[in-house]
Assembly symmetry: C2
Amino acid sequence: MTGRLAIVGLGPGAASMRTPQAEAALADATDLVGYGPYLDRVAAEPDQRKHASDNREELGRARHALLLAASGRRVAVVSSGDAGVFAMASAVFEAVEAGEPGWRDLEITVVPGISAMFATAARLGAPLGADFCAISLSDNLKPWETVLRRLRAVAEAGFVIALYNPLSAARPWQLGAAFDLLREILAPATPVVFATAVSRPEERVAITTLARAEPSAADMRTLVLIGSAATRTIERHGAPPLVYSRRSVPA
Amino acid sequence: MTGRLAIVGLGPGAASMRTPQAEAALADATDLVGYGPYLDRVAAEPDQRKHASDNREELGRARHALLLAASGRRVAVVSSGDAGVFAMASAVFEAVEAGEPGWRDLEITVVPGISAMFATAARLGAPLGADFCAISLSDNLKPWETVLRRLRAVAEAGFVIALYNPLSAARPWQLGAAFDLLREILAPATPVVFATAVSRPEERVAITTLARAEPSAADMRTLVLIGSAATRTIERHGAPPLVYSRRSVPA
């Protein structure tokens, strides 16, 4: 079996944020597998085959990629950001564990990428400069009660919070419910950031406070950052404010 | 004032994991500022000046970089991994906030990098594929009670945990105390990973369980990953096991 599979993080969008390792893995592939809009970011050669699928079919896409690799193809599964952060890598390994025993012998590599979370943080300053966490707000894969319990735990303990998958057409109410919970715990002036498509032409970044945060500022592609008591905003003349989190916690 | 300052994440070490954006920021600089071993990773041109400093002098180094930029130099402050994750970006913004008002008008950019956490996760599989957090175990900047409270909160709530700065010569006992706490909460079979210098020639990665985890497997440069109930290990023939976290939480 000479096929192999690379799970590749494309980074947030800009070519300047894609690593040489990712470019090499893409160039080596005979088959590119992924969600259509992510595949569109890859300039394929004429002899490379693209296999686009819907965003919600992660496990089916993973199995398809494994079947291609098992048949001898060199497959690159592409994800936006980092492939291991609420992206395709976990789905592939779930499929490996549940699938054909021979899939475990395939050469499978994961190529990390600049995550949306860190690209957003860099655009703002350093909001993730203290203890932080990342939570997917989707309840497609876990009970909503688990999401709320986790949010409460990290807000009470003082973590900066990055929210992935904040809402969708099928679940428009979840981000508002999350803000309601967080307002019980965190100060009204806590910085909140909505960041969409960072580093791409359609980039939108908005800085507000927890008191003023409106779920309508987000769509399914938005990353929402919620500060902690350590998160500060530095106002500037003629430039957006800087947002960063202090490294220290007072005794 | 024409000086400017870029805070650059070099990635974990391998050149293939450094972004073109980071390379461009380094090439543009007249002055490179950072911890000596990180500066050694940058091949400077003869007309670029390197300013190396000790690892613990982050705030002094930040002020030095800001003074250079304010004097008209083009400065790159380098960090390993991502500059915004327990690295130099927060220190620079702390110095900006506390420093000369003119520093706020400097052009300051942050260039994200592949973090040690995501490079390690990619090497293993996808251990950070579910809700996760990152905690610095150092009590140089926060009370040890805060560290313990945060660890307890995230372990009880089911997060995968990445521990930065797990121990040092001055505080050799902290990682053991953290494991003791986590053993009260998590199953003995919970996967634990020690990863040092990922992607560099001296890379060391060890996979064990919480029951067997020994603090002596870590040094100050080690990233320690602790799984959750969602974290699984897939054994393979003739290859290291894969470690990944399932995306779903049973209801």
